[in-house]
Symmetry: C2
Subunit: 376 residues, 2 copies
């Protein structure tokens, strides 16, 4: 099977590019002497995860318990569920544990610690939790200097749950505009986690795990002394947002959406294609960057960018393709039926719109079809 045999739209994964992305991240983390807990929320695929994990049983990071279920069913037992635990999920976490998952949860408040403690009483082994640290003011987490850290540790440990350490995610690295700023953010991220682990240990609590990560900070970190593991997800495919941030090159982007030209509005310089926001996602992350890539950068069927040809707008199942300048004369001839591949703003969001990867090796032959999933 070759790309021209597929019905469009279809998700295409360039395995050669993906392999280079994985090798690069792995050797970088090896050099820094930290272990790697890939975030599988980007791929949601055991075929991709197997190429990232250190062993067939993990470790991995997940963003939903559906991911935990799926990866456990595929032999992956060492799982960090990296979204603050909600009370209505504890029963599910216990059930995963009973099925053999070595699953850790995270939390940043005493109420959640008490819920975890209560659930631990129903479990065969105490539940393990990491305390989330807010290293950058971005989202969740305990502020590094806040006495709350020790209160949560106390609530967990005295109640019979197990404190497994600390974790943080410097999501603000996505807003950096220079590599130096990302490097500084990487230091801030690891400093926050390491200092909180030290505070816990100084107070007599354990902190075996010190977990950090985001694709930008992991890529540019130079010293992770005190950190035990790094989590990153989007690096495996990369996307236009990461390219705009300077974290990868456009030629590293492994994910694209195959689409067909279905018509034109020639006076406007538009070609209309059968991939809209449903296939690309509504993610317009590059809109806030220096170079706005619309709904995606257009490549030919071989994955080669066609210059400044973008998906400038999208409806549910329609995309509008035009030259960045809007000049009709600069849109190449794209007869009805022409196949294009569109690089996405955000690999996590675009991947989630599809139920399989059509795997190619920098050519048009579909070497494999790998299933993926979405939802909860």
């Amino acid at each position: 099977m070759n790309l021209p045999d597929l019905e469009t739209p279809a998700l295409v994964l360039d395995e050669a590019r993906m392999t280079r992305n994985i090798d690069r991240m792995r050797s970088h983390l090896d050099e820094l002497g930290v272990s790697f807990r890939p975030h599988v929320k980007t791929c949601k695929s055991i075929d991709v995860a197997r190429r990232m994990m250190a062993t067939p049983s993990g470790p991995v990071t997940v963003s939903t318990l559906k991911e935990a279920e799926y990866f456990l069913a595929n032999g992956v037992s060492d799982i960090l569920y990296a979204v603050g635990i909600a009370p209505n999920k504890l029963g599910h976490v216990l059930a995963l544990g009973a099925k053999g998952a070595k699953i850790k949860v995270i939390l940043d408040n005493v109420e959640a610690a008490r819920v975890v403690v209560a659930a631990s009483r129903d479990a065969t082994a105490p539940l393990e939790a990491l305390i989330e640290i807010d290293s950058d003011g971005h989202r969740s987490g305990v502020q590094p200097g806040d006495p709350l850290l020790l209160e949560i540790a106390g609530a967990l440990e005295s109640g019979g749950a197990r404190l497994a350490g600390v974790m943080t995610h410097a999501g603000s690295s996505y807003n950096c505009t220079t590599v130096d700023a990302i490097r500084a953010m990487a230091e801030q991220e690891s400093d926050a986690a390491v200092s909180c682990a030290r505070r816990l240990r100084d107070a007599g609590y354990p902190s075996p795990t010190v977990s950090v990560g985001s694709t930008p900070t992991a890529t540019f970190a130079r010293d992770l002394t005190g950190v035990t593991e790094v989590r990153t997800g989007v690096f495996v495919f990369f996307d236009l947002f990461m390219a705009g941030l300077g974290v990868c090159r456009t030629s590293d982007i492994a994910l694209s959406v195959l689409t067909s030209v279905i018509g034109h509005q020639r006076d406007k310089g538009w070609a209309i294609v059968d991939a809209g926001w449903m296939a690309m996602s509504r993610d317009r992350g590059t809109a806030k960057q220096v170079v706005d890539q619309g709904y995606g950068l257009v490549c030919d069927v071989n994955g080669k960018p066609m210059g400044d040809i973008l998906m400038i707008d999208a409806n549910q199942e329609h995309g509008i393709i035009a030259h960045r300048s809007g000049d009709p004369a600069r849109l190449p001839d794209l007869p009805v039926g022409t196949l294009l591949r569109v690089l996405p703003n955000h690999a996590c969001a675009t991947g989630a719109q599809h139920d399989r990867y059509h795997v190619v090796q920098e050519d048009q032959r579909v070497a494999a079809v790998w299933p993926r999933f979405s939802g909860w």
Copy 2:
């Protein structure tokens, strides 16, 4: 089962509101004397479609051939596939026809007409196509005055395919700012379709079908003389975008995402919940309207809006809830574990992120779970 028994995030459908939305649209179209071909791209659910369709076999409008497959398997045979046909989909269209679908395709150019003609030679019956008309400069379609209309008609009819008529979609109605402007757009939409049908008939071509539709224009149309059918999709659930447009009230919105509070950043006036853009979609349609509703308007577990409480930002599986003003004092007390329901910007986009509806009747009891699907 009640809403508090669910794991969050979860998609909630208020059936009582949905039924009122369907009844209102149906009686409006009955009064106008046109038949109704609901667009099932919004619901992607036979349970919802059965409540909208005139008969168990349709008619319906679909946006993907996966929808066509699914609805045909559920007894719906009268199908309009309302995205310009791509050459790589003709084999699939023929296979649907062989399985009993009475499926029509659409196109707006001679190249596509020739592909449909070629496919008709392989079919047991000629393929039926509608010519798409561009009534508003929004996307695809032949301009109403363009001689291309008759060229396409000639290519279809002389080649052995069947010209079934014309269709148009006034997507620009989404950009109207007053009800009067939507009414004018509704007239423009039906005028374009009716005049093109007349041109075809004057030239000796058939045009049994004259199909128009968008939720805003269908809602406010006052005269559809010459139109044979109306297509609308989002009306069934409505959303914040439609409310911002004045097409519905907030209390008509039947779709919401159930989510749990998992933490706080109290100094910032934030509650963090376990529904992010993956559960809400990345759709930020209201950002361009007078009232920007962020990633969604927050209601209590019973679906009652809590004033100006919004999801002001979202990550993949995290949402940030705050008062519109940003004032921490104006965020109500929302302990960890509190259930909230978030009304979406765009029902089509939010629905697509989920694989089932949890159906309630203006209360917390889950009366049914209806499956839905996504993808291609």
